[in-house]
Symmetry: C2
Subunit: 253 residues, 2 copies
């Protein structure tokens, strides 16, 4: 029996909740984790409020195998993630020598440019393991099962590439899909029967509209390629059985 | 004293957590709610798992003034939101006459086309108030402080336009912003001081990279236009004080 390894993403930042910034880290992390056999099981977007961050981190690190946070580790007053992580774990937030060294490497004239605000980025909860930031040097870190990463997608992605070898996953979820110019409501009943038959898969149904024509994409996810393929094949037959056209390149929604 | 009215968005669906579908409802809802003086205080993305949906709905409806859900109210087997809402409130899930009537209006030949699967969309928790769906007729609904809406953005938006007059907000958050070709770490210290001075505002700092030049957008949010304007003006002076160029149209990230 394979254990399902579950992760939670905490997106920290008022700018996401205000609608100003559109998160791009969720889809990236979801796909990367899936390849490693780790399921993104929940995501929370929370504001820059100390107690909310502390409580959410503590709840989620107990509940999930891995927690990833993005955002709030920059040099400005609104970057409070590290203070909150230290508080959540009940450890001091130290100026970390290794992190200072990393930061210095980012400046031609570190004695001038590495000012007090930038040094905030070298304050790391005691006991954490640093995560390299090849883009702008200010590191992320791992504290037990919590990975603290930057919010800027390019930096977040670089950090993730540096830690993914540490993650221990279960079986990756495989997926297959088929689309058809058929309304959801027409295929729903037979789809439910196919789902009952293929209990080792999850079949998702997603409507689309293309060039004025209504269609549905059916996505089958499961741990065994044979199950996925068989279910996709049955769904394809069902679409054809209704006399409807199968779509080769169904659009992602 | 104005009370802050807080809302939570629950995005329900495996397709968001797998990275396949990119949510577009959060930014829309955030901006719309803000105009009504309602703060989007948290968002959770949760999978199509019955107990998770029930528990999350119950936790969040107690914690926030309003809860909005998107997704999972279609005709297929993976649409389980209504079952979960009924269970969360401890009420039966009835076939709702008014909802059936709405659905019938969507079909030229309802006696044939309104099959059992489609009738699933007329199952509404007892006591709920329907929310019209001008696009595809299958309604959403309100159950106490929980609004249940479709996941398809076009439909979700139409539903929201139909219910927004019901929402009672506090003072809307006003915002102003200024960008400059200045690194965050350079302006961070003075920015912290400006934040300390303008305690009625929240100042957010967001780095950007444009044409190879590093810059920062500073966003000031507050309930009073005068506070917002004064803080933006002070930040603008600070950028100029560093001899840096102010950006007229700073990019959204």
């Amino acid at each position: 029996m394979s254990k399902t390894v579950r992760a939670c993403l905490l997106i920290i930042g008022n700018e996401i909740l205000s609608g100003r910034t559109h998160d791009k880290n969720l889809p990236y992390l979801a796909e990367q984790l899936n390849e490693l056999g780790v399921r993104l099981a929940e995501t929370r977007v929370i504001p820059d409020i100390t107690q909310t961050i502390i409580d959410t981190v503590n709840e989620c690190r107990a509940k999930f195998d891995y927690v990833f946070t993005t955002g709030g580790i920059g040099p400005t007053h609104d970057d409070i993630t590290s203070d909150c992580i230290a508080a959540a774990f009940g450890v001091p937030l130290d100026l970390n020598d290794e992190a200072v060294k990393m930061l210095r490497s980012n400046y031609a004239n570190p004695d001038v440019d590495l000012n007090e605000a930038r040094l905030r980025m070298a304050r790391i909860p005691r006991g954490a393991e640093l995560v390299e930031n090849p883009v702008s040097k200010a590191p992320g870190y791992r504290m037990e099962n919590v990975y603290v990463m930057a919010g800027v997608p390019m930096i977040m992605q670089a950090m993730f590439q540096g830690i993914k070898h540490q993650l221990v996953g279960g079986k990756p979820m495989l997926s297959g899909s088929v689309g058809g110019y058929i309304p959801e409501g027409m295929i729903a009943e037979v789809l439910g029967k196919i789902q009952d038959e293929f209990k080792n898969t999850d079949i998702g149904s997603y409507p689309f509209l293309r060039e004025g024509k209504l269609g549905t994409t059916l996505v089958v996810r499961g741990e065994e390629q044979a199950d996925v393929d068989a279910a996709v094949s049955r769904i394809t037959d069902a679409i054809i059985g209704f006399g409807r056209e199968v779509v080769a390149d169904e659009p992602a929604s």
